[in-house]
Subunit: 539 residues, 2 copies
């Protein structure tokens, strides 16, 4: 582990430098990695220009601006790229990787780089060049009968949805929040989640094409058969199943990915169950658990707190102008005024008229007995929050949650803190209390939601702050670090984390885990060309 | 690849030797691996005896007999262990692995070694010591609310089922065929499949404890958190998802595994849809595909051919005494006499009375319109084949399929050949024709079934022969090899294969796939201690 610690220390050293550099000149190009001379870097840029064309290599402050935007706290501005290159094909990616290997320049691959709240296009450490795959945006295949698709990384959810609609294909997509601009490939590689029964994206992924650090191409699963027929249909292939290794990792660059799409059901019926009190959290989770574990409710139930809901469409000062934290009673009252509960759990049923009715009559009494108020479209009418989830739970797209970034001001600050715990009311209550206490200490609100996946409970805290307020920006970073550490100690590890806090998150998961990842990294990418620091992994 | 080819050539050399040795003396202990002296092997045995006790190390012909039994063709008797050691705890496994590393002796881990038709406890190459984990048979945890379990490798399906029944826990297991004696951990590591909605076993696996080649222990996923709470509840953890790497592989020895169990539904209703003609295969698959892809039918549909069905309970000579292949018309007639179709597709609905009824009324007309006859328990009464699947589709246990091994005689010969193809009628027809032609050439019957998983079509051919007939044994091996090669060329790769044919199967999946697996093997097990040749992977 000493090697990892050394790397991290070096990284932090460079980070401090980067911070001062950026505030001085904002010329990211100055942050060269160790062992790379300015001459080497210029040679690499020249080689890349010859591969992708002048206009697709970015190495100055002005053209790099689109890659600088981030909502996550990064007060020392460490997560800053020094350049970017945007290939259009697999062959161009291979050639770019070979050049990177020759000069020892790390590449940070992004699909569309719109990962709002997890760092967008920003790399985990300074001195990296963004490998921007947005131009590789072909929908290579949609198999209507099987419900499979093969996509390049630059394809957006909107593009895929449009393709299905335009071709009258009765398949649904499953979107994460801010779906229109995000990439199915990128989101799945980060193990993102959505709102339909296909919400656990990596579960419904099938087949990858991966460029390795030496520029060679691996097709996973059945894709490695010379005359493959089931690359996007059969997940595992023969021998070790390797796709998982390429998620949340820096072991290769994924250039194609297969996904499964959900057949559009004849009937779709969305619901919300509202609980009036903030303290209802335990009874809500206890009531929903059996419905989810049994798949009676087939989609990932999002249990949205009132503060999170309100922050989508309102500013904090519209809700509360008192001192300190927003009191629970106040929040409950404002929620009620807006047709919301303190907790609002959205779920849906999918099937035929009769099968949906049959399940509804089982689900409703369970939730009602727990003190929830169950509503469907008839009662919720045009309630904007219901409308939002009503769209999402059928693979519809919207940008409503972008509003979260303005809760505390115009500076645009958002970081997801998302620990995973057991699906029990007691555990959720403990987690909520701990998160609230830590956030409060830093003057931040507990704006949270919960999601029950297959067997896990995700606690999704939106850490909302104003990035233009330098003090608050620093506090947000400190707060985030304390959250990761304090939750980690108690066995609540995060399922995903923003680029600025990947190293910290990895520290929670024990030394052996890191050693094995490092062993794999050294075997697959001995020069450390691909995304050093991704998920805390260095070569 | 030259290194792999060299290894394979060496292996075959030793195999020929082994064959002659075994037919002469049957003393497997004589087959030492390259670079291991008799003295080293004796030292290792001594060290292992001090770890597990005298009685749990097996190194002579008599005590090794239980590890010699196999149904797969292996005419040169290459897949023969030279010894076996049976630890009782994680710590003993670690100590055994360290001794193996010291003396360079390969270990072939088995859970219960009852993998009928895939090689049982036999290793892929000679000169290996079986690491028999059957004594590690603790059910470490069953979480009733979440439907999760944590098991050691020696736990059998029967044992887990008994535990649930005795403790009145309303959770179901999902069994493969010959479930009672098989191990959930072993079957999942081989990526076996079953009959309920949880039939894709690896999909419902969550968390592993793995002993690495250096004797260190890795816990995957959330299990690596120091105070983990969701090891068996959240599959992915943080950073690269590694569990898949340890399936069908030799990268580590799995000593604990988490599984998800299915909540017992209020209503379970099994069905069969029979198609009368052998040539109905395409219409059957076309009819069932949309029902499976949409999850209207939630379990893995097994479409059993009449010959496969009959072979479970009858001998070939009871069915047919003519020359050559059994004619289709004859098979159809015998099937009808036994209350079977030429194809018999078993599926079930799970839910409430109303929801099951709602889905039944959608499913029935689709199948009837395709020419199928749909029957439920009322019509099938005590039909033994229906009874068999009626049990399996609710996680019930039986050994009915052991009968397959006696179809051609008392010698006990069975090898599964299981290629994966697209779920289309045309593809299935082509595959069936090719398999029938190759089998016929070697005087063997086409006794097959099909299964639609999530998006894939498994073609499950039971290659049935009489192992006591030396000529037929050789023909079965040659036939199996031709099947793997001819199907592989056409893009129909196997999902799983017996120990004697792992190298051959791996050859179908392309050079890059093998290179990457070898790179990983060398990184994680540089001395090649764990199961050389598993899935065609050598260090």
């Amino acid at each position: 582990m000493s090697e990892i610690n050394r790397r991290e220390a070096l990284g932090l050293g460079v980070a401090a430098l980067a911070g001062s550099l950026v505030s001085a000149s904002a010329f990211a190009g100055a942050q060269l990695p160790d062992n790379v001379s300015k001459g080497d870097y210029e040679s690499a840029l020249k080689a890349w220009r010859s591969i992708v064309g002048e206009e697709w290599v970015f190495a100055d402050t002005a053209t790099l601006q689109p890659y600088m935007k981030k909502f996550i706290p990064d007060p020392f501005n460490r997560c800053v790229p020094m350049g970017a290159v945007a290939p259009q094909s697999l062959e161009e990616v291979q050639a770019i990787v070979k050049v990177a290997g020759k000069y020892g320049i790390p590449l940070w691959p992004v699909s569309t780089g719109k990962n709002m709240g997890y760092g967008q296009a920003s790399p985990a450490t300074p001195g990296q060049v963004i490998l921007d795959l947005k131009r590789m945006n072909r929908i290579l295949e949609v198999n209507v009968e099987l419900g499979t698709a093969l996509l390049e990384p630059g394809v957006t959810y909107q593009q895929l949805k449009d393709y299905l609609v335009e071709n009258d294909i009765p398949l649904w997509i499953d979107v994460p929040t801010v779906g229109p601009i995000a990439s199915p490939v990128g989101n799945t590689l980060d193990r993102g989640v959505g709102y339909t029964p296909y919400g656990e994206h990596f579960m419904f992924q099938c087949g990858m094409e991966v460029v390795l650090a030496d520029g060679d191409v691996l097709r996973t699963g059945m894709g490695s058969l010379p005359n493959q027929k089931t690359w996007t249909a059969f997940k595992w292939g023969y021998g070790p199943y390797l796709d998982g290794m390429f998620t949340q990792s820096n072991f290769g660059i994924v250039t194609k990915m297969g996904l499964w799409l959900m057949p559009k059901p004849p009937v779709y019926k969305p619901f919300v169950v509202q609980f009036p009190k903030v303290s209802d959290i335990d009874r809500m989770i206890e009531a929903l658990r059996p419905l989810r574990v049994s798949s009676l409710i087939p989609n990932c139930v999002l249990m949205m707190g009132a503060a999170y809901q309100l922050a989508m469409f309102k500013r904090r000062d519209e809700i509360y102008d008192g001192p300190g934290d927003i009191p629970d009673e106040h929040l409950e009252r404002v929620a009620a005024e807006n047709g919301l509960g303190a907790w609002n759990s959205y779920f849906a049923l999918y099937g035929t008229q009769d099968s949906v009715a049959a399940i509804e009559q089982v689900v409703r009494p369970v939730l009602t007995a727990a003190g929830g108020n169950v509503y469907s479209e008839e009662e919720m009418h045009d309630n904007p929050w219901f409308h939002h989830h009503q769209q999402l739970m059928q693979g519809g797209l919207n940008l409503d949650e972008v509003g979260l970034t303005r809760w505390r001001g115009n500076g645009g600050g958002l970081a997801w803190f998302a620990p995973v715990g057991p699906v029990t009311g007691d555990d959720a209550r403990e987690q909520a209390a701990l998160a609230t206490a830590i956030l409060s200490k830093y003057g931040l609100d507990y704006t949270a939601a919960w999601a029950i996946g297959w067997r896990d409970l995700h606690h999704i805290c939106a850490l909302l702050y104003d990035r233009s307020d330098e003090q608050m920006h620093r506090r947000a970073d400190e707060c985030y670090r304390e959250l990761v550490n304090e939750f980690g100690k108690r066995g609540w590890g995060v399922y995903r984390v923003g680029t600025a806090h990947m190293e910290l998150a990895a520290q929670q998961f024990g030394e052996k885990n890191r050693e094995v990842n490092q062993t794999l990294k050294r075997a697959l990418d001995p020069k450390g060309i691909i995304a050093p620091g991704k998920s805390g992994i260095y070569n």
